[in-house]
Structure formats: C-alpha cells, structure tokens
Amino acid sequence: MSAEESAPARTAIGIGFGNSYSSIAYTTGDGKAEVIANEEGDRQIPSILSYIEGEEFQGTQAKAQLIRNPKNTVAYFRDFLGKDFKSIDPSPCHASAHPVEHSSGIAFSIRDTEAESENTVTVSEITTRHLKRLKTSASDFLGKEVNAAVITVPTDYSVAQKEGLKASAKGAGIEVLQFIHEPVSAVLAYDARPDAKLSDKIILVADLGGTRSDVAVVASRGGMYSILATAHDYDLGGAKLDKVLIDHFAKEFIKKHKTDPRKNERSLAKLKLESEATRKALSLGATASFSVESLADGIDFTATINRTRFELLANKVFGSFIRLIEGAVQKAELDVLDIDEIILTGGTSHTPKIASNLQTHFPQSTAILAPATSVTAINPSELSARGAAIQASLIAEYDTEDIEQSTHPMVTVTPHISKAIGVLCISDDEQKGIFKKLVEAETAVPARRTAHFAVPREGGDVIVKICEGVREIKVSKPEPKPKTNGKPEGEDDVDDDEDDEDEDDEDEEDEIREKVWKAGKVLAETAVKGVKKGGKVEVQVNVGGDLAVQLIVREVGGKGGVRGNIGKPTTVENGSA
C-alpha cells in the first residue's frame, strides 16, 4: 500500500462497522479492494463479543454463545455509541446482554473476568475491544500493524456518535482517517471498479441490514456524490425476515409436539440462529433445511422450506422494504424514472425477492445492482468495507490536517444547480426543439461539461441556444406507433446501451410514464458560422463556483470559436468561500 511511504508509516484499512456484522477490507497494490477474512475464515464478522470465565470471544464464536450464555454476550451495540440511555431502543438486545444506564452513556453489565461478580463495561469499551479484534485480524492478514482506518457510519450518525466511535477506535490503536457514510461507500465501491465509467446519474442506495434499513438517494455527478434524501427504518431488517421464519417453524413444531419453542428463551435463541442460517441459505438456493437439536423439551426438529414458501410468508416484510425505498424517492422529490441505478447493500440484500420486487417497481432503465439481478454485482455485505478501503487508500498519504481541511464544510457545502443546463437541438424554437442536457440538475459547482453536437447535413451557420431544462413525467396511453420525438431517458447515460424504446407492451399498466425534457429559461445564444459539412460543434459549459457560466462554443478541429460569459444570478448566496 502506498501508505507505507508516508512519514508516519500508515497502514490503513477500511472498516465496515455494522450493528450486526462488521467487515474489514484493504486495497491491493493495484488499487483493488479486498475483504479480509478473520482467523475463523469469516468475511462478515458478527459484531458480537462474548465472555466465558474471563475469556473473550468475538464473531461467530460469540454469536453461538447467544444460546447458552446470553447474559455475558454483547450484541447490537454500535447504535448505542455516543448516545444516552433515554434515546436508545434496546429491543435488539433482548436476547443478549441488556444495556444499562451509566454516567457516561450506556453500559453492559457482564462478567468479563474470571471473578463471579459482574462488571459494568461501557459501550465505548466494548467497541474498543471489538475494533481491537478487527485490527488484530487485519494486522495478521496483512503482516503489518494496522494503525489507521476509514470507518463507515450510517447517514444519521450524529457528531457525538462519531466522536464516541473515534475515541473507541483510538483506544484500539486505530487512527480514524475519516468517517464516510455507508451508502456513499457502497457507491464508491462500485465506481472504483476498473471498468466503471463516470456518468451523471441518480443512485438509490438501499442498505438493508440485520436490524435496520437505511435508504439514501445519491446524485452522482462526475464522480462527486451528494445525498439528496435519506430514509431510515430502525425495525426493518433481516431480523424481521427471520421472525417470519421463526414463527413459521414454531408453528410447525407446535403442530407436531404441542409446545411452543418461543416460550423458552434458549429455544428461541436456537430458533433465531437457525432461522438466520436458513434465510441465508434460501438466498442462495431454492430450498433450505432447518434443523435444530433439542429445540424444546429435548426434541430435535428438522424441516425444509423452499424459497417460494418463504417469499409468500415474508411478502408483507418485502412490501415494507419497497415502501421505504419509494418513500426515499419521494422525499428527494424525484420520480422512480429519475433513478438510474439502485445499489443494494447490507446482508439482507442477498434476498432475491427484494431485488426482483424492485425490478417491477422501477422502470427497466433502472439498473438494480444486487446479486439476484446482476451478475457483476459486488457482494452487498462487503460493499461498505470495500468503499472504506478505497477511500483509505486514497487518503492514507494525506496529513491528518489535510484530511480535516478537505472534509471541512467550507469545502463540502457547495451550491448545486437546481435545473439542468442544456442545448436546444433541431429547432431554435423552445417549444419544438429538443432539449439536450449538458449539465444535470443537482450538480455541484464548479462543474464543467463538454459535448459535441452534430450540425445539419449541409453544414453552414448554426445557432447554439443554451437553456435550462425542466424534467417532466409524461403519461401516455400505449400506442402502437413508435414515439415521434423519441427521447428515451436511457440515452443520457452514455455507458448504458438501454436507449432503445422503453415501452414494453407486456407491461400490465395501461399507461406509459416517461421522462421528457422541456426547455425552460434561455440562458444564452451563440452562433457558429460556416461549419463544414459533416462537421461537429463542441460546446463546453463551465459553471463557476459563483454560478457564473462560461461558454466555449467552437467547431471541432476549427480555430477560435466563441467564448461568452453569463453573469452570476443576483440572489445567490455565495457558497464558494
């Protein structure tokens, strides 16, 4: 890693620190992010710590302790960090060590030493221990001491929580280079693929975790990401799906043996653990078996379930996932047609039904990046750690001060263009002409875009009319004839070859909704004279930090060209300090 060269030799990794699972990733010499497996071979390490007679267990081993030793097993603690007791929801910890109030926030009362008495261990101490284990795993794998990391956090993580996490990391000997938001980390992981092309797109990132789900609508503009809206659901997650399976198998058991395994704590824990395993198996295969030894009253229980059955049972839960995601789109004041890409991240995203449900709810032009719908999708459980590792490799060489300055609101808060800027094609009449956008709405300024425009066949003088565009959703009845002014929305993505017509007649819907662009306010007009036959006109739009626009219009290969400036709007509060 390039970090070695910097003066205080930094070995930086990316940590995806989740409520249920954590993962660690590093970047190889050629800039590819790889997720590190811990000593047990797990790439997703349960964020669980368990203590038996002073011995500490972490990860899968600790998770197994939820059955026999729940009182001294700490789980789902990430969201408690940096919060006070009143504001937390302790329900996920129902089956493990319970959080208690403590002078410095939240603590767990566990027997973490050989002594019989219980110790109060603060959540920050627990986090430190957990991070220490992650660090050891990474150091063992890399063969050198890891001392810095980029850690992912949910979008609603407060400053206090970040500070708390930073302090815990410091306790574990990890310098936190930066906190990055989980959805953005996922986007970065996809964009850092070598074959990824930069384009302006709206990405919806659905982070479906073990206990909670977060959705973010991210505008990706020339590789820069702005979050347009977020939505959170603190109950929805893999645990909800597990609950469906628990109930299902509990009923089966009751049918056979007349006892409810959910009544007994230990049986419930067993059910829960096996349900999770079954759910994961169902994400991969069409059927999965469920077997627990001595589930209740010493009776072993074995059953099988197929995917269809599970999907039927969990239909309601799947519905709430879709509702959450659609809610986020509405919150961003966008239409489903605006979403160019959906990235599913988090362990629950493996569930194929969620991805296929999204496929039916979003237009075909929307690419859904989930293992079930796209073969090239990256493992959703690893996305956030990978993104963090890439970011870590990018900034590992920087000084801490440099990083701080670069992430300061002075730099990050910028004006975003509210309406797309484009050029009118075919006709100079705003009503008849076709608006071809150059700079998308929600692009952070300063921004620069260049496009080559064709000219009429015979060449000659042309007019370049720069105007603002308004996106409208056109609803029309399906007609057999092809669109006359065919402007499929996919055409905007140069890398997508989906710009063939959208209307699929097998669509059950009666009407076709499509995105059309209307030219709005004209910003400037320029003339390019004497363009050669078959020539092209290059239009470059430079939007300055103060929203003044500089235009360069010239014939490709020609000399000179027209330069012009459009003054900045008077009402702008200047964001580029």
Binding site: T414, I421, I434, A444, R448, V464, V549, P569
Partner: protein, 444 residues
C-alpha cells in the same frame, strides 16, 4: 468531467437576421441553486477539494496534475530499460555466451550488478517482446533466433544468484579504471577514487561498506575505511572463465588435468585479484591527502607537547634564577641599610655622648662657678663632694635633652645665686616628675 458527450441530433440553423456582438448573446442567469453537502468521498471529490482549496480552475488543476504525473512517470522511467542496441551485439552467436555481456544484452548496462531481479525480469520481457523469433518471422525477415537465444541465456545467468555472482565477478563492464597518480594530483581525489571503491565494494561479503568520504571526514572514519579495505572480505571468484571440462568419459586423465588446471587458474586469479586490490588501496592511501594531514596533525600534537615541556622547564628555570637574584639583591640592600644605620647611630651616640659630656661639664662647671653652692669663702671639701654628687645625681636623673636645655640655661652664668636658682628649678621639675624624692638633694 473530461469525457465528451456525443450528440447525434443536429443543431438548428441560424435564423435569418440573428446577430450579436461577437456572435454571443447572454440572455439571463441561472436559476438560484440549492446548497447541498457533497460527500467527502472518492477521487473526484479529492480533486474538487484540491481545486477549491487552492482556488484553481479546472484547466489549471489539470495542468498541474498532469505535470506532477509526468514527473512521477519520469522518475519511474529514469531507470527504465531503453538503451540503444548495438548492431554488433545483435549479430552475436548464442554459443559464445561466455563472451557476451549479459547486462548489455538485456539493456541493463547502466545498472549492472545493481539491477534488481524485478528489473531483470522486466528487461527480459521487453527484449523478448521485441526479439521473439515469431515476431521476426511475422515481419518477414529470416527466422534467425540467435539473439533471442542470447537473451534467454543472459536471463538464465542473471536470474540465478550463483551464476550471476560468477558473472559479476568477471564483469569487465562494471570495473572502474583506477586513476593514475598524475590524474589524482591534478583532479579531485575523492571524485576520482570514490567510483573505484564503489565498484570494488560490490564484491564485499560485509555490508555496509564504509565510504571514502571527503576532506572533512573524521580521522576515525578515514582509518576505519582503510582498515576495512586492508581486511577486505571478497566473494569474487573466477569459475566463469574456466576452460570447459570435457564431459566425455573416454579420457579421464584429460578431464582431471583440465579440472586441475582450472583450479590452479582460479587460485592464481584470486591471488592476483587480492594483490591488485591491495595495491589499489596502497595507492589510494599514498595519495590520500587526509592521511598526510592527520600525520602532520599527529606530529604537531607530539611536538607541541615536547616544546611545551621545554618551554615550561626554561620558564621555571628563569623564574628560579630571577627569584634568587631578587633575593640576593634584597639581602644586600638590607645589609647596607643596616650598616648605614649602625654607623649613623654610632655617630649620633658619640655626638650625644660628647654633648652630654660637655653638658655635664657645663653643669659641673656651673656648680663650681656657684662655689659649690656654698655661701661665703671656699667651700669645704665635704660640701664640694656633696654638691658634685648632687649635680651628678641631677645629671643622672635627667636625660640628654633636658641636660642640653639645662646646660644652655647655665652656660655663661657666673652668678652663684642665679646658678643655684636654675638648679633649684631643675630639681623642682625633677621632683615634680617624681624621679627623685624630696630632700634627696640637699646641696641646693
């Protein structure tokens, strides 16, 4: 974004009568923007932050970045394998591989023994890509793969650590010519000799090898340096130049003979090499100005002590002499002064004595003049005795000065009464002073 979007739709034709200054007409500004937070993540954000913090525009930033990358590439490429190929070398026959310069074949003659394994591998790959017989065949030339074989042989030798050492031992290309005495005297010793020792250092079994240093090197460093070179532990060996041992089994004697010859040759060459190195170090030592400097310094140091000692002794001697003289002088002075004083004292004493005698005489004379204080007629003898005794008593009781005073008072006085009164006064003063008891002197 640098990518250029291609739009197939044609631009509209310029309407009649449209005109504007410089063909540009600004109509209105943009709609007001929304303030949002960019996520500080990803390479493009870092570029954005860089631009914003340094207040660069897109093109400025691109230029600066391009410069930096160009620099980096240059740095990386500085050691790249891009040497021109000697046409003669391309004609080489692979059979004569012992005579070929493997580094030159791979285009690494700049690096030689310094070339890393990675460099050799890359160089090999590059050369193979260029000289592979298939390529040559495709290009239409003859299927001459002799140079390709040379490349393979060179790589084989250089990638095998043992063979590489053997080749490095006899690699003439890496030797640096020893500067002659004249050259050294004319030029800079350190500049001329440093490369020599650097190249010799490649044979050292011990690392790090101390460096020659410069004129400011400390004495210890310089001595260490020569110490190291006089005890140089070299891995240099001369198997590479062995005569081929016939591997047929028919003539064992011949084989042994050749083997023995080779052994002896190696030994000889090794001894010669050791001698050569020794001579080289000797030469360097002889020419090294620093050694002379240190010698001179040492000599000065030694002499300084000696001189100092001598000077010290001399000074001490002189001081002693001076002290003695001084003492003698002082003693003499003191003697003289004493003598003078004595003489003076004697004179004064005598004078005082004389004066006292005279005064006494005056007193006695006065007593006689006063008729020994007897009224009327000649004084009887006892009275004369008494009077004289009293006068003597007075004389004895008063000191010289009083005596002189008294005598001056009495001098010239003949009147008996007057003399008596003077004596009476004198006696009174003496009695007042308590020197004699009242009534002791009865004559007056």
């Amino acid at each position: 974004m640098t990518a250029v979007t291609q739009v197939a739709l044609p631009l509209p034709i310029l309407p009649e009568g449209w005109s504007a200054e410089k063909d540009f007409k600004a109509v209105g500004p943009l709609s007001p923007p929304t303030q949002r937070n960019i996520e500080p993540v990803g390479p493009h954000f870092l570029a954005h932050a860089r631009r914003k913090r340094h207040k660069r525009t897109f093109s400025e930033d691109e230029r600066i970045q391009a410069q930096e990358t160009a620099k980096k590439v240059e740095d990386d490429d500085a050691g790249e394998i891009s040497e021109p190929e000697d046409p003669l070398m391309l004609q080489r026959d692979a059979k004569d591989w012992k005579g070929q310069d493997h580094y030159a074949v791979l285009g690494l003659s700049k690096h030689r023994y310094r070339a890393t394994e990675d460099q050799i591998k890359r160089a090999h790959r590059k050369k193979v890509l260029k000289h592979h017989p298939d390529k040559k065949a495709a290009a239409g030339s003859t299927e001459d793969d002799s140079f390709f074989k040379c490349i393979q042989k060179a790589t084989e030798v250089l990638l095998d650590p043992v063979k590489r050492r053997q080749f490095d031992s006899v690699d003439e290309g890496a030797n640096v010519e020893t500067p002659s005495k004249k050259q050294t005297q004319r030029g800079n010793f350190y500049k001329l000799w440093n490369p020599v020792f650097d190249s010799e250092a490649r044979f050292s079994k011990v690392h790090p090898v101390p460096c020659l240093g410069d004129e400011n090197s400390s004495k210890d460093d310089v001595y260490n340096f020569y110490e190291f070179w006089y005890h140089f532990d070299s891995w240099r060996s001369f198997e590479y130049q062995d005569e081929d041992v016939p591997d047929d089994n028919e003539n064992r004697d011949q084989k042994r003979h050749v083997e023995k010859k080779n052994q002896n040759r190696r030994k000889k060459l090794k001894t010669e090499d050791t001698q050569r190195l020794r001579k080289l170090v000797d030469d360097a030592l002889a020419l090294d100005e620093r050694i002379k400097k240190f010698k001179q310094q040492e000599y000065n140091e030694k002499n300084k002590k000696k001189l100092e000692k001598e000077a010290e002794a001399k000074r001490a001697q002189e001081e002693a002499k001076k002290a003695k003289e001084e003492e003698a002088r002082l003693a003499k002075e003191r003697d003289e002064a004493e003598k003078a004083e004595k003489a003076e004292g004697k004179k004064a004493k005598e004078a005082a004595k004389n004066a006292a005698k005279k005064n006494k005489r005056v007193l006695r004379g006065a007593a006689k003049d006063a008729n020994y204080f007897h009224e009327g007629g000649n004084a009887p003898a006892d009275k004369i005795d008494k009077a004289l005794a009293d006068v003597d008593l007075v004389i004895a009781k008063i000191d010289n000065e009083q005596l002189a005073l008294l005598s001056s008072k009495l001098n010239g006085k003949t009147d008996a009464a007057e003399i008596k009164s003077i004596f009476v006064d004198e006696v009174k003063t003496i009695t007042g002073a308590g020197k004699i008891k009242e009534g002791e002197i009865k004559s007056f």
